[in-house]
């Protein structure tokens, strides 16, 4: 059972009562008017593009060349490598920070809390500058990949620690009491009973944070790491095609994040089915 199957069919159904006849008429009128406005807006945009010459062949023809796509694909792989690595590190580190923070050991809990709040509070770009400009001064040589991946991962870990904690707090206390009363140790109770349920509660927030990770990787240019964004910038300068290139890679980023969303829901559903057998 995914989060979707458990909750109401849609947010609208959950938040509002079913509309009556007068409201339904208003909705029809509102829908028509807003559809008209959107169409009008799009028409204006396309017209502006046409007027300013953005639809000229020279801004689009290089997309027909194989080398363009190969270069973008290399950037895509670069983005994927950073995002997946950073995402994996962030998930593990976030979990560790949360476990430390919720542990009964006071000093450990305090340290984890400070670390969590620090990485959560500092912008990831600032962390990247730190790894790019400050760390090398102390003789630590790092490839561009890690100068990008580590700060992105650390920033996300801070947020994920809090996301996990919210999930753990949402698990009813009775679940813990039942596990303890069977003779399970507190640690096993956490891993077998609390965490599996907590993760299920926070899957939407986890997806949101993984999307943030993907978007954070776009500052790769700071460390000259060849990700999708950086390679697009190279193409923009060589073909002098700003708008068309930005539109295309925006579409690619949307597709990546859509895929993350789909994959997460799929995983959630699969684990759900496994329970029922």
């Amino acid at each position: 059972m995914s989060a979707r199957a458990v909750s109401a069919p849609s947010v609208r159904d959950a938040l509002f009562e079913a509309p009556g006849p007068r409201m339904r008429r208003k909705i029809v009128v509102g829908t028509a008017v807003s559809a008209l406005l959107v169409a009008l807006g799009l028409a204006v945009v396309v017209r502006q593009f046409y007027v300013t010459g953005q639809l000229d062949a020279r801004y689009w023809s290089f997309f027909l060349e194989w080398t363009t796509w190969r270069f973008l694909a290399q950037g895509f792989v670069g983005t994927l490598e950073v995002a997946l690595t950073a995402g994996a590190i962030a998930l593990v580190l976030g979990l560790v920070l949360m476990l430390g923070r919720t542990s009964g050991v006071r000093p450990l809990s305090a340290v984890c809390r400070v670390v969590t709040d620090f990485f959560r509070g500092v912008p990831s770009l600032l962390l990247i500058y730190f790894f790019f400009l400050v760390v090398p001064q102390y003789g630590v040589k790092m490839p561009a990949f890690w100068m990008l991946t580590l700060p992105v991962a650390l920033a996300a870990a801070g947020v994920l620690a809090e996301v996990f904690r919210a999930g753990v707090n949402a698990v009813p206390k009775g679940q813990v009491e039942a596990a303890l009363s069977l003779g399970l140790s507190p640690a096993r109770t956490m891993f077998k009973i609390v965490l599996p349920q907590a993760v299920r509660y926070v899957i939407p927030s986890l997806i949101a944070q993984l999307v943030v990770v993907v978007k954070d990787t776009t500052v790769a240019y700071v460390v000259s790491y060849p990700d999708l964004m950086q390679n697009a910038r190279v193409l923009i300068t060589s073909y002098d095609a700003l708008v068309s290139m930005y539109l295309v890679i925006a579409l690619i980023y949307i597709l990546i994040n859509y895929a993350i969303n789909k994959a997460s829901v799929y995983v959630a559903q699969r684990t759900g089915v496994k329970i029922i057998r």
């Binding site: 059972m1 009813p172 009775g174 679940q175 009491e177 039942a178 596990a179 303890l180 009363s181 069977l182 003779g183 399970l184 140790s185 096993r188 077998k192 009973i193 599996p196 349920q197 299920r200 329970i275 029922i276 057998r277």
Partner: protein, 257 residues
């Protein structure tokens, strides 16, 4: 104070559960006042009393889901451990059934029942599953074994929860208002399972509002009010001739209609 009729007659034997002068506060609230109670092997002790009388707290204190301020809790003569492996082992030997069932919501009913035996007692999967299926059949939910708890009715969930506790082969079972969260038509199916258990000789502490169950099954009724045990005795004696005014008022209030 309390009279200890049943206890006196069996003084030679070590009680399975014994509370000695237990005190507990929730902030300013004095929830347990000098509570002393002995439960012997095979005995069914039903605890009744108005809400807020401390009966749930007492029940939960027996396996340390609630800590106590002072006094002693002994399980078969051994003091209840405070933490760690010893406490976990003691809890494994005491079954606990909750008002809200508390089945693990992300596991099938079968996995709920096999978790303890496999994880704590070290049984193999096959042993644990055959033990679980036998118990689930006994409480009448064998057909639901592969469903998740949310797919079961309240009565079925509570019966599965009882099976989960029984799978640990406990020395005693505590029931903390096991039927209070159930729809009326499901109360009896759970009580029937408990009656069966009592007949089978299980040592039981039952906190409940089901007076007919108390009268029918209890070896001893304990009446609590304001964190104190006001009186205890055989069910017929207690229900027909309560000695304290508090007990008379309580019984009148629930018989009022």
């Amino acid at each position: 104070m309390s009279q200890r009729t049943t206890e006196g007659s069996r003084s030679g034997e070590t009680p399975v559960i014994e509370l000695r002068h237990v005190e507990k506060h929730f902030g300013d609230l004095h929830v347990l006042r000098d509570v002393s109670l002995s439960v012997h092997r095979g005995e069914v002790v039903v605890v009744i009393g108005p809400s807020g009388s401390g009966k749930s707290t007492m029940c939960r204190a027996i396996n340390r889901l609630e800590t106590i301020d002072s006094g002693e809790i002994l399980i078969e003569g051994e003091p209840l451990p405070q933490e760690g492996r010893e406490l976990a082992r003691m809890r494994a030997e005491l079954g606990m059934v909750f008002q809200q069932f508390n089945l693990f919501s992300h596991m099938s009913v079968l996995d709920n029942v096999t978790l303890g035996p496999r994880d704590v007692l070290g049984l193999s999967r096959e042993e644990a599953e055959s033990r679980a299926m036998e118990l689930l059949a006994r409480v009448g939910v064998a057909e639901q074994a592969h469903k998740v708890p949310a797919q079961l009715s309240g009565g079925q969930q509570q019966r599965a929860a009882i099976a989960r506790s029984l799978a640990m082969r406990p020395k005693a079972m505590m029931f903390d208002e096991p039927t209070s969260a159930l729809d009326p038509e499901m109360i009896n199916e759970v009580l029937d399972v408990m009656v069966e258990l009592a007949r089978g000789g299980m040592t039981m502490v039952v906190v409940t509002h089901e007076m007919s169950f108390a009268r029918r099954v209890a070896d001893r009724v304990v009446f609590m009010a304001d964190g104190q045990i006001m009186e205890e005795g055989a069910p017929d004696a207690f229900f027909d001739h309560p000695r304290t005014q508090r007990a008379r008022d309580f019984l009148d209030s629930i018989r009022g209609h």
